[in-house]
Symmetry: D2
Subunit: 283 residues, 4 copies
């Protein structure tokens, strides 16, 4: 039995996927025909039903992935491959507090909320009211968001939290908010950024150069789909070639000595160690 | 203050990263010198300390990513880019139950355990005692595992759970265990597989053809690192070109009618709809 | 002055490219207006002309690359990136004789003919009359082909040449023609193949295993375009993810001794060398 | 019979490839033993010979590809995948004149010379005497170069030819030589560039913005090798992730009208066409 309130994916024989919440009295209608809510509720996920036109329809539970694909978007959305890598790298999970800006359409917010769960927390910021509203709507639609605080504020004024475990910036000019970002996280926390152009990456790297950060990484992820046909196995003809550059780094105190450290020769080091050891009386 | 028991990453000026648990009385020793446990415990993550040789060392908290990099491995390990995509696709998270086999060195198990947290569950299977032991050791080392059940059993006999939300097989011949896998999950659940060669993908697809599954996907993920230097921004010279093929599908009842569905022309369909509607007295 | 008979590319302000041979009295007509042949002939390549509707049009010489893009195709055509790699790997150039089958639409034939020039030779085979005709037409259209022999014959009966410098097979089941191919080339010659699916690659590799060949290579080439905008430099959103697998090998006698050669230890080898040297009286 | 003077590839059972010219009296010597020049000359390419240590060695003709791999290099060399694409895009071939700078180690020069053959011409420029010498040496070694003019001169003073069919710049700051380059080629000719970093690409694009050029393209090529094993077919673990960005464009007069052309609505255009037609008396 599919519970009322479930997000149901209706899959048509032509492979189209429609997501709709199962609400009493609200039938699913499409060009393939009608499926009554009562019928759907009487079946299980993973089963098939026939519309009043006799068209078979698969009933599936909307997974996190389906929800990310299905959210309403008014902005460029972050792709699932990037969302997955961001959540892993930031360590989004139970008991963690993650800061995000801007919320945009809320795609990453949905995933962060999902992974952090009831014991974690997501603090997201969005200056434009229409996107803030959209994010809230998408969180509700996706069945997550209880652990999300949305702040309709400009991050130039700072973030609405301190001591976060990690922070992610998906804004056009992240280099303008680095001091605010560093003040909002725990010491040693991970920071992440998503940027479409190399010029933005360059500006960000210039900004990071003068800040207390370490472990700077710039990377791209590609997903290549294959046609799942056993006897003619081959990659799909086309793929997404670019979604954005991911940049990660960690808050880190770092002295000039560390940055300009010149390793000494082995002998020199042994002598010095011997000297120190003697002076410290540990010889 | 870094708490006793923390997994600390020690970063040397030459960029090497060492992970060690902070235990009272157990100093960190390296060719760069010694850092006493007491000193480290008196500092914060994200700070710097000097060894008795005067070498500056960064102190960082081992993130999930660091832990995945650092686990002891006796098998081919799954790369973080693939782990991230698997966890997202399976929907590993709070309140979910995920089945896995084989545990291998426990890399994916660590991530699944992390994301599922105290309210979720991971049921992992490993037939070889030495790998089962290694997985338990790596879970403990990584500071996760409370929600993990490890079964030292051959999955040919079936899995040690029913009604799981998702299942992942990282074994050489997954096509031999499809019936067992389908019996172990909830209706409509997501199944995932990782395979190094295309011949294995082919065998798996042949196996899936005769099983009740839908939404088969085959994909590869690539990660391309860039040199993070603002004025000479360019990709790294080399990259990992292949880790494995990811295959996903969902348990799904599917009739011959669905599979061989031929959409009718619009007019034909309208007539039929009108007829049905009349017969059903809903006109 | 653009010579009569030239292949001219007309570039419209919207970026569309039309290729047409410049023939006296045959004006270029498009939705952007008309350019008279006489006007075009009075100008130079790299100049601009205005149609009778006042639309500016760029006049360019059709390069080899333009010609490859512009040929009429009734078959899957080989992409320029693959054609370039094939021509280099086969060493297509002056004084060389290259065998090809099947001609298909003649894309590769055009390039081979171009690179081999007046002192080289291309022997192409095409069993289907309509494609043979199309290849001839495309060669003529592209302004090459004087060094091409087209044989409308089934290669199961063998190739129409011996002692070729290299041979390329773009057919569905190349493993059926390996003996014929090996008989048609010089000793040690390079053989190349293009195949869309991995199952075909597998069949071909199985066929090559039992033949006198060495240096087997399987590879894919990707081309990733970037948006050429200085201040927002970024890759294009989409790319061609798959065109085909290229396989290369060389005719090569190879003994079991070579294949199963076990290198000996240094000392063992020195002793043996000393022994041999003594026996040969060269010590 | 392998002709005296041939460039022979000696392939050892461990897969190492040595290239050496076959000269009377100059035996091939390696850790695998000695092969006398007379023996080699008595055999054919594609055959096997045994060293005095009894090690089997394959004898192959050095193809263009082998020669490109084997040239002595004191600079970063251009990869074969890029060389192939450059030669195709520039249309290097019989009867063409191609300008190049800098010669570097002469890798591209070898390929251009090969493809242009006896009826074509390569004009290469290299300011540093040691590289000029190296290029000449590599051309001779590779058995090409009769059609090459090497100018040991700084291209800031201009190129040593006019009216070339195409030009390629592999220098650190190509944007400084755009006017010289444009003066050295035929109207409408293709220009190409190779650059390792995106900042260089950006500088070049800024330089091209103010020059008479069209069809600017920026692209990257990737080559992914597969393990050629029929039953365990899979990509190699590692690949070259970056060699350089290729930039191409064509000399092209282009008016402001072309650049800022705004297509008019269909009706508007028809009216205008009608008006023009009337004024021109062609109605």
């Amino acid at each position: 039995m599919i519970p009322w309130g479930s997000l149901v994916v209706y899959v048509s024989p032509r492979g189209r996927r429609y997501i709709k919440r199962l609400v009493e009295g609200e039938d699913w209608q499409s060009t393939d025909g009608i499926l009554s809510a009562a019928t759907v509720a009487s079946l299980d996920f993973g089963r098939e039903a026939y519309t009043h036109l006799g068209v078979p329809i698969l009933l599936q539970e909307a997974t996190l992935y389906d929800r990310l694909q299905g959210i309403k978007r008014q902005t460029q959305i972050i792709y699932a491959k990037d969302i997955a890598a961001i959540c892993l790298k930031l360590g989004a999970g139970p008991k963690k507090t993650i800061i995000e800006a801007g919320s945009g359409s809320g795609g990453l917010t949905v995933a962060l909320s999902y992974f952090c769960g009831p014991t974690g927390k997501v603090i997201t910021h969005e200056a434009r009211p229409e996107f803030a509203k959209l994010t809230l709507r998408n969180l509700e639609w996706a069945g997550v968001g209880d652990n999300v605080e949305l702040h309709e504020q400009d991050i130039a004024q700072g973030f609405a939290a301190r001591d976060a475990d990690a922070l992610f910036l998906d804004v056009r000019t992240p280099w303008l908010y680095l001091d605010q970002a560093l003040s909002a996280v725990k010491k040693g926390a991970m920071l992440g950024f998503l940027l479409p152009t190399v010029d933005q990456v360059r500006e960000l790297l210039l900004g990071l150069e003068t800040r207390p950060v370490a472990n700077i990484e710039v990377l791209e992820l590609f997903k290549r789909n294959w046609k799942p046909v056993a006897d003619r196995l081959r990659p799909e003809d086309r793929m997404i070639a670019h979604t954005g550059f991911l940049v990660f780094c960690r808050e880190q105190e770092m002295s000039a000595q560390f940055l300009h450290y010149k390793p000494k020769g082995t002998r020199e080091r042994k002598q010095e160690a011997a000297l120190k050891a003697r002076l410290q009386g540990t010889d």
